[in-house]
């Protein structure tokens, strides 16, 4: 463990301690803990920056699962540092913002911050991991925390829908990612990222190279909401706004970008990588920007904008991979795309974070995020207006903001491949600048609409009556800081260009340093009359024109066919799979344990039988067996006879006594087989068990006298006989096959010497294998508690059972259907009862479960208890009404 480990794990530690801390200082808002921790982490990580800048990455390692070669190695280079600072820096601002934003319901606030901290820890672990498997673990953890945070308002159907959607899509990608990592391991024999990079050259010719790349890109594209996997991000906006600002614009969605950047040295230089990453990014860019224009919800605009901007960065990462194809000067030309990607990553986090927070403030102050109901807020919320202008200018790529510089760099980067001459670029490269330019126009439009429709124009009558004013200081401070930062990045880009951006770009393209090239670190606001500047002027001109005429052409969106939407495909496939799985499961999961036991036994028969008859080293030994004394024959035959008689016993006591007989005969067997401890134990246990059986019958006289023979069933009989025969064969096979030295010799030798006991069995129990015994008595304790609960605490047990009342009443489904109709224009997936319960009987069953059990309808209880339980039910009724 090192300091870096401690830093990466500290959010988890705080998350674990937060419930206790919160209770210790109940008056302090839980968000302060998160904010303070983020500040500390941010400062500590900044401390590494000089070392990283000097080109000396920090590596700390400690063995975690040595047997699998999994070590928890942390690796901090330029790329990781940029992301880690982004995570902790945004973490500070979001935590402060959330203190004002999140209302004060202490119980669920703790939950919120626990999730948020776990997310922060997972994200830090993700960007610091050097091992692919730990990276994958953290990757999935971010998906899970994102799921929990999107579903934070779990009583809302849309929150649950969005949470599930994001989880399903990102987890599908996560599975792809894992398989891709395993393929990488198969090819290279290592899970360490740095070792992979050294092996990069021989990997490219491997037949598994392409599948591994595709699978890993699947993971990255789903996480970073690239087309066509973007559909989860707009639905994720159901999360509280701080979460949207943090997870779904600044950090988590960038994990995919991080992964692409991190593995770029491994995959870059191939045509597939270039085309998939840059084209995927480009399509996402234009799709997101075009779709953002038609949105009416502030957060939806920002969500599609995020999709589009992520596409932009993805595209830049793809373009930067060209630099590894060339050498020398030309290589540096393409490497500029990598620098642009890193810079835009930072810019995007800054301006999008501020805009999200503004959207939250508007929502908080006016109660709506619908731009159709907003307007003219500039007069009453001047500060928010200023901040949003800063953010929107940066987003639209206007000078003198940071976004302008990175947008310029992007436009330059898409022009560069025009004369690359590889990967069929000579014919297709012209598409890149055209699409990029159109997307920039739309980016300008939605940025303008975001500000214009919210803050300018006339105030709507519905809002005129409300007292709307700027948000409190705590809420305004974080976005204001970000807005200032957006301006600062534009005016003084060299603040970060040498310390953060160049080291990050260096680790994105390590081949440059290897060949002795030096990335130009300087980023300038004004860089002369370049073609890119001309494109920007064009964007502004066309953008202003289209924004002013927006009302006329926005109707065109209505002509986009809805039936073709990916959301519809997602919903339909979800419904399809639900139906299929229900059908398949009901084929064999018929609810009868007998069937399940038969499956298990059947499988056992197959596997064991197969092994027995196919293994070559199994022999059935004959001869040299122990001699059977005459009286032992009686016991053996008695065992067989007594056990065979059990199924034929008509009354239950007889069956029990026959089983007891078997047990006592076993005692005798143990005596003859020289196991005195076993004989003693078996005898006492058998006596107590039989007493227990009879005690049960003592209370159930009806059961004792009922006479019912076991009905003969041929399938059961055949299964039983087959298992019996197989086990006999197994026993014989084990006798004849003994490939290993028995461990018991060691026990016999060491029993007295090192454990000081003469009864070897007892020594094994309490000393050599004391852990087993320890756990065994624990199992016994649990069993006895279970029995105690079953018998003594039954009243309470029903209370717990009756609490499984569904929160939403019958109108929840109705509400859900309505939401679906409003979003997609048709009845979406049924997540409720109707798909689960195909047959009416099952449906009734579920309905019945939902109905609360009223305990006072029990007839067999004491009056005192009745009083208590009915008062309980009264309380519960009250809860339900709330």
């Amino acid at each position: 463990m090192s300091l870096l480990h401690l830093l990466a794990l500290s959010p988890f530690l705080l998350a674990a301690g937060l419930p206790l801390l919160g209770r210790a200082v109940p008056r302090l808002h839980r968000g302060w803990f998160a904010a303070v921790l983020s500040v500390i982490l941010f400062a500590a990580l900044l401390g590494y920056s000089s070392q990283v800048r000097a080109g000396l990455p920090v590596t700390e390692s400690f063995a975690w699962i040595p047997s699998l070669g999994i070590s928890f190695t942390l690796y901090l280079d330029g790329l990781s540092l940029l992301f880690a600072l982004l995570i902790t820096g945004m973490g500070v601002l979001v935590a402060i913002y959330s203190i004002a934003y999140m209302s004060d319901e202490s119980e669920s606030l703790t939950r919120f911050y626990v999730f948020l901290l776990i997310f922060m820890g997972a994200m830090l672990g993700l960007v610091l991991s050097d091992n692919l498997l730990t990276l994958y673990g953290f990757w999935e953890l971010t998906s899970i925390t994102s799921f929990l945070l999107i579903g934070y308002h779990h009583y809302k159907h849309r929150s649950r829908y969005g949470a599930l959607k994001s989880l399903l899509i990102t987890m599908t990608g996560g599975l792809g990612l894992l398989s891709g990592f395993v393929l990488l391991y198969v090819m290279s024999g290592t899970y360490q990222i740095r070792e992979l990079m050294d092996a990069a050259v021989p990997l490219a010719s491997h037949p598994l190279f392409l599948p591994a790349m595709l699978l890993i890109l699947l993971g990255a594209f789903t996480k970073s909401a690239q087309y066509p996997f973007h559909i989860w991000l707009p639905d994720a906006m159901e999360a509280p706004t701080p979460v949207s600002a943090y997870l779904h614009s600044a950090t988590m969605v960038k994990a995919g970008l991080y992964l692409v950047a991190r593995l770029s040295p491994v995959f870059a230089g191939t045509a597939e990588w270039f085309w998939i990453v840059s084209l995927g990014g480009l399509i996402t860019l234009i799709y997101g920007s075009v779709a953002a224009v038609k949105q009416t919800d502030l957060k939806a605009i920002l969500a599609y904008s995020t999709i589009s901007q992520l596409g932009l960065i993805m595209c830049l990462l793809g373009l930067s991979s060209l630099s590894s194809v060339f050498v020398g000067e030309e290589s540096l030309l393409y490497a500029a795309a990598g620098t642009a990607a890193m810079f835009h990553l930072l810019n995007h986090a800054v301006f999008k974070g501020s805009l999200f927070m503004i959207a939250g403030i508007v929502d908080h102050e006016t109660g709506t995020r619908d731009v159709r109901k907003l307007g003219g807020l500039a007069q009453v919320m001047p500060i928010a207006f200023t901040i949003s202008v800063f953010g929107a200018f940066s987003m639209a790529g206007l000078p003198p903001f940071g976004g302008f510089i990175s947008k310029e760099m992007f436009l330059e980067a898409v022009l560069e491949p025009l004369h690359a001459g590889v990967f069929h670029l000579e014919t297709w490269a012209i598409l890149l600048p055209i699409i990029a330019w159109i997307a920039s126009v739309f980016t300008f439009i939605y940025s303008a609409l975001f500000v214009g429709r919210t803050f300018l124009g006339s105030r709507k009558p519905s809002l005129a009556r409300k007292q709307v004013h700027d948000a409190p200081l705590l809420m305004t401070l974080p976005p204001a800081l970000l807005a200032v930062l957006a301006l600062g990045l534009g005016l003084f880009p060299s603040l970060v260009s040498y310390s953060l951006i160049r080291p990050a770009a260096d680790s994105l393209m390590p081949h440059l340093a290897a060949s002795g090239e030096q990335l130009p670190g300087s980023i300038k606001l004004w860089h002369g009359w370049t073609p890119a500047l001309g494109m920007t002027i064009g964007v502004i001109a066309v953008g202003v024109l289209l924004t002013l005429t927006a009302r006329r052409w926005l109707k065109l969106y209505a002509y986009v066919p809805r039936n073709l939407s990916i959301n519809r495909f997602y919903d339909a496939s979800l419904r399809f799979f639900e139906r299929i799985t229900v059908r398949i499961t009901s084929l064999y999961m018929n609810g009868s344990s007998r069937s399940y036991i038969k499956y298990i036994l059947g499988f056992m028969l197959l596997v064991l039988g197969f092994i027995l008859f196919n293994a070559t080293d199994v022999t059935f030994r004959v001869g040299a067996y122990a001699v059977i004394a005459p009286y032992e024959w009686f016991i053996l035959l008695g065992l067989a006879a007594a056990s065979l008689a059990v199924p034929f016993a008509k009354s239950r006591p007889v069956a029990i006594i026959l089983t007891g007989t078997v047990g006592y005969l076993m005692t005798l067997m143990f005596v003859f087989l020289r196991a005195p401890d076993l004989a003693l134990t078996q005898m006492v246990v058998e006596s107590i068990s039989v007493t227990l059986y009879l005690l049960c019958f003592y209370h159930l006289p009806k059961l004792r006298t009922e006479r019912r023979a076991v009905r003969f069933r041929l399938p059961n009989f055949l299964v039983a006989v087959a298992v019996g025969v197989l086990m006999t064969l197994v026993a014989l096979a084990v006798l004849g096959t003994n490939p290993f030295e028995p461990v018991s010799d060691y026990y016999v030798r060491e029993s007295y010497e090192s454990a000081g006991g003469k009864n070897i069995v007892n020594v094994i129990l309490v000393d050599f294998r004391g852990f087993d015994t320890m756990l065994e008595i624990m199992v016994l304790g649990v069993a006895s508690l279970g029995i105690y609960n079953m018998v003594k605490l039954r009243r309470k047990a029903t209370d717990v059972g009756s609490r499984h009342v569904s929160h939403e009443g019958d109108n929840a489904d109705e509400e859900a259907a309505q939401t679906r109709r409003s979003i997609y224009g048709y009845d979406g997936p049924d997540t409720g009862l109707s798909t689960l319960a195909e047959d009416p009987e099952e449906a009734e069953h579920i309905k019945i479960q939902d109905a609360p059990e009223l305990p006072h309808e029990e007839t067999d209880e004491h009056p005192q208890e009745r009083h208590r339980s009915s008062s309980n039910s009264h309380e519960k009724g009250g809860e339900r009404d709330v």
């Binding site: 003693l680 134990t681 005690l695 454990a755 000081g756 009864n759 129990l765 008595i777 069993a783 508690l785």
Partner: protein, 141 residues
């Protein structure tokens, strides 16, 4: 169970219970060198108490051994756990036992063994579990 079911059984059990308990004690202490040990002794003791319950009734057992057997189980588990963890303080792996030979008055040369304490935990746990089960069922109505 009905009260006063059998005078003969009651009188015999008065004697036998003590013999069985003494035997259980013997099994417990000799467990390390001859047949016996915590499990057997625990079951045997529970058996003795069960005999008492059968001959008289559960109330009698409650009166004779006025303890909550759930707590006995917990105590047993705790003792076993503590014995196991004790080794950790001496830099030994969990559940590593120590033993030595001492000259004690009356008993002569005696082996003292931390395994015996662990076995005591096992003994208490087994007694507690068995009696909890039996009494729970027996008292149900």
């Amino acid at each position: 169970m009905s009260k006063g079911s059998d005078i003969f059984l009651q009188n015999v059990s008065k004697v036998v219970v003590f013999i069985v308990l003494a035997f259980a004690l013997y099994l417990f202490f000799t467990g390390h060198s001859s047949p016996g040990g915590g499990f057997i002794a625990g079951l045997m003791s529970a058996g003795a108490l069960l005999l008492l319950a059968l001959a008289y009734d559960i109330e009698t057992v409650r009166k004779v051994v006025p303890v909550d057997f759930k707590l006995v189980t917990a105590a047993g588990l705790l003792i076993a756990l503590c014995t196991g963890s004790g080794a950790l303080f001496f830099g030994e792996p969990f559940l590593k036992h120590a033993f030595g030979y001492f000259d004690l008055p009356l008993l002569g040369k005696t082996e003292l063994h931390t395994a015996l304490i662990f076995d005591l935990g096992v003994y208490l746990a087994v007694v507690g579990v068995t009696m909890t089960i039996l009494l729970t069922i027996g008292e149900d109505n």
